[in-house]
């Protein structure tokens, strides 16, 4: 299963580290996480991100999901009202299981990232037989 790393509760806007003058914001994408048949599936909403701008990294057990958004401004138009804001997406998880890196399946469709993370063979629970003394 996946444990979330360093996010502020109830806030869906994460501050970017370092340069405070940068007005760019990173949003926390909504995710669904479930497990079935030795596979952890993470589904993340990243509307406005094109498939080439999605970046998924797995380093040791730290899984980072990133999506870059190019804010949309129609030419010759001025902003009238806005109910939502656009910005990049970042979300970091630590995975409690060893993942078989070669078998990770990632697909991005209609602004949704779907990651399938199969558990690697050596971390599958092994039965240890207890000998009677």
């Amino acid at each position: 299963m996946a444990q979330e790393l360093a996010t502020k509760d109830t806030r869906d806007v994460a501050e970017t580290n370092g340069d405070a003058n940068r007005r760019a914001m990173a949003f926390t994408p909504a995710v669904d996480i479930f497990e079935h048949d030795e596979t952890t599936v993470i589904v993340a909403d990243m509307p406005g991100v094109s498939p080439d701008d999605v970046d998924v990294t797995l380093e040791r057990q730290v899984l980072t999901l990133r999506g870059k958004v190019h804010p949309y401004t129609p030419k010759g138009y001025r902003r009238l009202s806005s109910e939502y804001r656009e910005g990049d997406y970042v979300r970091i998880f630590t995975l409690s299981d060893e993942i078989d890196q070669a078998k990770i399946n990632a697909e991005f469709k209609n602004g949704v990232l779907r990651l399938e993370l199969p558990r690697s063979a050596e971390t599958k629970p092994k039965k240890i037989s207890v000998k009677a003394a």
Partner: protein, 147 residues
């Protein structure tokens, strides 16, 4: 001097009660504004041009087939249904934050739009609708004569 937490009669600040009420009201409405459960889903952005208007909204996970867009006079309605989340006996859920179910939102446009000249696109989970003001509805410029 230390003031007791709640003293309705002996209170230097006549607005304290009002503020307390206000923060209680804010707390009450906070729950209703949780993502996905908002009364006005999906949130929309509007852009105004000379004689046209653009609306954008984020609908991640839908396809163009799942969205129904209708316009009548100055009312634009967006209707859609998200796919059922995966189910099965062997599924163990850890997190469920994404929106599901169906929604309907109607928004009032600042002017009538020509229903034959609407350009709607759906790309990467974002719906963009460009609407034109009909010719007979455009404001006419009136010339002012000088004597």
């Amino acid at each position: 001097m230390l003031q007791p937490v709640f003293s309705p009669l002996n209170n230097g600040d006549p607005f304290a009660d009002m503020r307390r009420m206000q923060s209680a009201m804010n707390r009450l409405f906070e729950g209703a504004r949780a993502p996905g459960q908002s009364a006005t889903y999906p949130p929309v952005n509007f852009w105004a041009g000379e004689d046209s208007i653009v609306m954008t909204t984020e609908l991640p996970g839908l396809t163009d087939q799942d969205i129904e867009l209708t316009v009548k006079d100055t009312m634009l309605s967006i209707r859609g249904t998200y796919a059922e989340p995966e189910s099965g006996d062997d599924i163990v859920w850890h997190r469920r934050e994404r929106v599901d179910g169906s929604f309907l939102r109607s928004v009032e446009l600042p002017f009538r739009v020509n229903p034959d000249h609407i350009d709607a696109r759906f790309e990467n989970g974002v719906l963009t609708v460009e609407m034109q003001r009909p010719e007979d509805d455009k404001p006419k410029r009136i010339e002012i004569k000088t004597t």
